[in-house]
Structure formats: structure tokens, C-alpha cells
């Protein structure tokens, strides 16, 4: 089995820099041959990463300056999939604060995690050694 292609990024935990992660994913996907529905897949991955990182800025690092977000983007073969591990050292994620949106009634909050789950094949979270670790994965 071939070794995964891994790209690492570390960003300041500020909204203005989060588009860098999306741009990196888009650029990587452009270099992969024969991705079915490439535009949709790329957009979905970019949005899922944006939602994860925005959540880290807004909640994990709320009121804290100097936070960092580390991303490891791995393209694996057989089966081909993109895995994105996202780490921060902010407050733990509290699943009780993340309710599913009521889609019949528009609301201002709650769509972030919903979209991540809809767009990805895998969304996991774990707290490990005072760090938060999110894993997003999408088969290609």
C-alpha cells in the first residue's frame, strides 16, 4: 500500500485566516485525477473544515488570545480518501451544546455540525492530553 500524501498547516485561530485551509484543500484536490463530482466534493470538504475551525475560534478559544489550529491533511489510497485531522488546545467541546437544528424552522445557530455530518463520511471528536482532536474524512 502506498504511503499517504500528508500536508500540514498551522494557523492562528482567527476567522480571517480560516480560508487558507479551504484553499489548500481545493488546491490539493485539483492535483488528484478522476475525482467524481470534484466541485461538490471540494466544496463540501472546504465547508466542513471551515465549520470545524470557526467552531474552534468561537468556542474552544473564546476569550483566549494566541490560539493555534493545526491541520493534517492526508490523502490515502485504497480506498482513496481524504482525512483531515484538526487539533487545538482550547476548551473541550461540549456535545450537549450542539443541538441538531430544527430544519422546519430557520434558526441562527446549529447548522455547523449538521453540515459537517452531512458533507463528510466521518466526523469524530476526542479530547486527548488537553487537546481537542477532530477528524473529518471523505471517500474520493
Amino acid at each position: 500500500m502506498s504511503e499517504p500524501i500528508v500536508i500540514c498547516l498551522e494557523l492562528p485561530a482567527e476567522h480571517r485566516f480560516l480560508n487558507i485551509a479551504g484553499a489548500c484543500i481545493e488546491a490539493l484536490l485539483e492535483r488528484i485525477n478522476d475525482v467524481p463530482d470534484r466541485g461538490m466534493v471540494s466544496y463540501g470538504l472546504q465547508l466542513a473544515v471551515q465549520e470545524t475551525c470557526a467552531n474552534i475560534v468561537d468556542h474552544a478559544y473564546r476569550g483566549m488570545a494566541g490560539g493555534r489550529i493545526r491541520l493534517e491533511i492526508a490523502l490515502r489510497a485504497d480506498p482513496r480518501r481524504l482525512e483531515i485531522d484538526i487539533y487545538d488546545s482550547g476548551r473541550p467541546f461540549d456535545p450537549s451544546q450542539a443541538r441538531e437544528p430544527d430544519l422546519e424552522h430557520a434558526q441562527e445557530r446549529g447548522y455547523g455540525l449538521f453540515l459537517m455530518r452531512k458533507l463528510m463520511d466521518v466526523v469524530t471528536y476526542e479530547r486527548q492530553d488537553n487537546c481537542n482532536h477532530w477528524r473529518l474524512a471523505r471517500n474520493l
Partner: protein, 110 residues
């Protein structure tokens, strides 16, 4: 001559940028400014919006709620980008908002 003349003002706001957590507060503030000036009916033309995240969607819903609270409304114009359309469908925004194919069609709806 007994005349009653009413003039209704509709703000057409065309966004030509990503709407995401970074710039959503600015968009919200500009729309709030229009509401404060007495405008209650809005067409948000999203046709040139290439990317929309949940913070951007929150701005749309917030405007809808505030506009309806003063008997106004918000109509949207579909983003041209199919990927962005999909997000509005996944979240069922196409049921909550009236979304038109063009700015003209959205205005006609009022």
C-alpha cells in the same frame, strides 16, 4: 382630488464575496443599518456568492426574523454556484425563504 400615494422601499443587496465567519458580522451590521433606517423588505442577491458557511446563513436568518418582526420580508436570489445552492437545500433554506432565479423575479414577488 382624493389621493393616497404609498411608496414602498425595497433594498436590493447584492453580495459579491464569500459570506463566512470572518465577514458575516460586517454584513449583519450593514443590514441592521438598513433596518434601522426603516427598510423592511429586502432582496439579497446571492448570485455572485461563491461560498457560504453557517455564520453567513445565520445572518440571513437573523435578517429574516427581524424583517418579519416589523411586517417585512426577505427574498433571496439563488447563488449561481451549484455547490452553494446545495447547502441552501441541505439546510432547507429553500423552504424557509422564497428564493428566485433572478433579482427581477425576486422583486416581482413583493
Amino acid at each position: 382630488m382624493n389621493l393616497e400615494i404609498s411608496m414602498y422601499c425595497i433594498a436590493v443587496v447584492a453580495v459579491r464575496d464569500r459570506i463566512e465567519a470572518f465577514n458575516a458580522p460586517e454584513l449583519r451590521s450593514r443590514l441592521d443599518q438598513l433596518l434601522a433606517e426603516g427598510i423592511t423588505r429586502f432582496v439579497l442577491d446571492l448570485s455572485e456568492v461563491p461560498f457560504l458557511d453557517s455564520a453567513g446563513m445565520a445572518v440571513l436568518v437573523g435578517l429574516l426574523k427581524r424583517a418579519r418582526a416589523v411586517e417585512g420580508d426577505v427574498r433571496l436570489v439563488w447563488p449561481k454556484k451549484e455547490e452553494a445552492q446545495r447547502i441552501l437545500k441541505l439546510t432547507r433554506f429553500d423552504r424557509v425563504f422564497e428564493i428566485a432565479d433572478s433579482r427581477e423575479a425576486a422583486l416581482k414577488g413583493f
